[in-house]
Symmetry: none
Subunit: 354 residues, 2 copies
């Protein structure tokens, strides 16, 4: 049996690295985190109470949470710092980093390739959250990995609440090309087409465009590495899609052609399993129609504070040049009705939402 | 001046027709609703307290909320029922229905083409909500429309809370091809590609795939009509996209090519107005690490209120069961440094964020 996890080093204080750190810290594991960027490192260390009492002999595992192209470089650096290094990575592609690592002096048995399927279009430690991985697939390429390292890696995944899935590097890369990289590319191409649009046409944009292009906010540097690093798995998917698009354009005037494209999409979407989409947190949402002016937000929060309920989340929809805005507040389900009644009594225009 | 709205007839008890009905009913307007499908009609009439006391002479306006291909047919039917008919439609395309209407005996001045940009991937009266249109763009093609009909149409839009936008039919159709139809097509093509995927690969699907294919759940029959009915505006957009896709495939192995596709998408997405009708705005974001307990949110907002800056947006990231949370506040750029210094002085753990 491997010893229980007590000390972890994380290199890379981005969204994923810092989120793993938060989950580990929550479970009582001492986390030390470093980043090549000083600002990110400072924020992440604040979040993780990383007090700089480095002790090499205590570190059981180094989690490399950097973009894929620098993994091998980081591993080489870490090796010179700590010759007994044991590593897991968390990057979005698996074949190429494995190849890169094989060129370092790290024993392959001490490198565990993993990938938590929990990226967001936002990045950096400021977007990190310890529950990012709950219920999300977390792929592990376990073949040839030292058993005690494997035990620690599985413990990290379990602490984070990830759903462990064993895949070969090739199977992983083919799967993410389909479920992650292809959506990223189409979202970015769609958003890129907006550069050609008339300014006033974009005023009609609604939630459909916003949702479909949400991924397009992703980091270009990171995704340039991911996509080009997975070109082999992506190419056949892209060519099939190109054929579908050409066929659609050829039949564009025909109702039946368009109808079949939509129907086919509906069938495809129905194939997405529901079980590993992440634990959706059920909130009671309250929509409050407000005057869009300073002070309204503070006033509504003060109203909630009076009855000591915790606002779990908050969204502001306001239209410059219009008098009304909409604030949507999220509460624990048991607080919902209480908040509704209280806000109504205080004269707020409230609506239960969804 | 047109008389204030008191009686409205709606034909088409789908999501849009029923939602408009709910908003009108909420404002005290008597609504009568009909649908060719008995089940939808019964549900909508229940929702709208439509008690069947039809009185033709009281009906001021008929809202046709059917799929675009049947609008002219419905108008012809309604004309034979009520020769004094005045109509607004709410369909997703404008040029083709106008052409169809011109072949009926309805005076063109009594047909007001409109389009509320508030579709959802769900449909039917059971998904209807009276607040569906609040703050959403609602396009009106006002040219040549009778002034008293126009006044009633604007009253409907105002009651629903829509953001009125005047556009010619051609400008509308070009805009929706870009902001609504293109996202629909790409979402459906992406979802359609899942029909070719290995079952076990789909187990890795996360929120990225889910969000990007959300629109793919749309109704094939309705969207077949919309897309083929707007073929002319769609064709150049699709051909440009096809070229982008081909260029991407050709440069797939190159990091720089992939990076530029993502960067271009990011630029395009930044062009989407932040909230409807306005310019997209650049905010100064401040990340504050807080104890995740009631009162912290109110305290931080109170701190901001002390120096009279307006919080433009706010996001909460917290992990249930953990002690630390993160609040990201958005400010006008000129307020950013002032807020940072003030919060720091007050002892908050603040970090500038992107």
């Amino acid at each position: 049996m491997a010893e229980k996890l007590t000390h972890i080093r994380i290199v890379g204080a981005g969204l994923i690295g810092t989120s793993i750190g938060l989950a580990l810290k929550g479970a009582g594991v001492k986390v030390s985190i470093r980043d090549s960027e000083a600002r990110a490192e400072a924020l992440a260390r604040d979040l993780l109470d990383d007090l700089d009492d480095e002790n090499l002999s205590l570190e059981q595992l180094c989690i490399v949470a950097t973009p894929p192209e620098v993994i091998a470089h980081v591993v080489a650096e870490e090796l010179s710092r700590n010759p007994g290094l044991r590593v897991m990575d968390v990057s979005s592609i698996k074949t190429k980093p494995l190849l890169d690592i094989s060129k370092t002096s790290l024993d392959a048995a001490f490198f565990a390739p993993t990938h938590p399927m929990a990226g967001r279009e936002v990045s950096g430690p400021e977007s990190a959250r310890g529950d990012l991985f709950i219920g999300r697939p977390w792929v592990l390429t376990s073949e040839g990995v030292d058993p005690s390292l494997l035990a620690h890696v599985k413990e990290v995944i379990a602490i984070c609440g990830g759903a462990l899935m064993i895949r070969s590097a090739a199977d992983h890369d083919r799967a993410v090309a389909q479920v992650s990289h292809l959506p990223q590319i189409l979202s970015s191409l769609l958003a890129g087409s907006l550069n050609r649009a008339h300014e006033e046409d974009l005023e009609l944009a609604g939630s459909g465009l916003r949702d479909t292009t949400r991924l397009a906010d992703s980091n270009p540097e990171l995704w340039g590495q991911i996509l080009s690093g997975n070109a082999e798995a992506l190419r056949p998917l892209l060519i099939s899609l190109q054929n579908d698009l050409s066929a659609f354009i050829a039949g564009l005037d025909e109702n039946a052609v368009a109808q079949e494209v939509i129907a086919s999409g509906r069938r495809g979407r129905a194939r997405i399993p529901g079980k590993h989409g992440g634990q959706s947190r059920e909130y009671f949402l309250v929509a409050v129609v407000i005057d869009d002016k300073p002070g309204q937000l503070a006033a509504i929060i003060e109203s909630c504070a009076q009855i000591q309920v915790n606002i779990e989340d908050l969204q502001i929809e306001h239209t410059p040049g219009q008098e009304t805005g909409l604030i949507t507040l999220s509460f624990a389900p048991q607080d919902g009705q209480k908040v509704m009644s209280h806000l109504q009594e205080q004269g707020w225009k409230v609506h239960p939402s969804r």
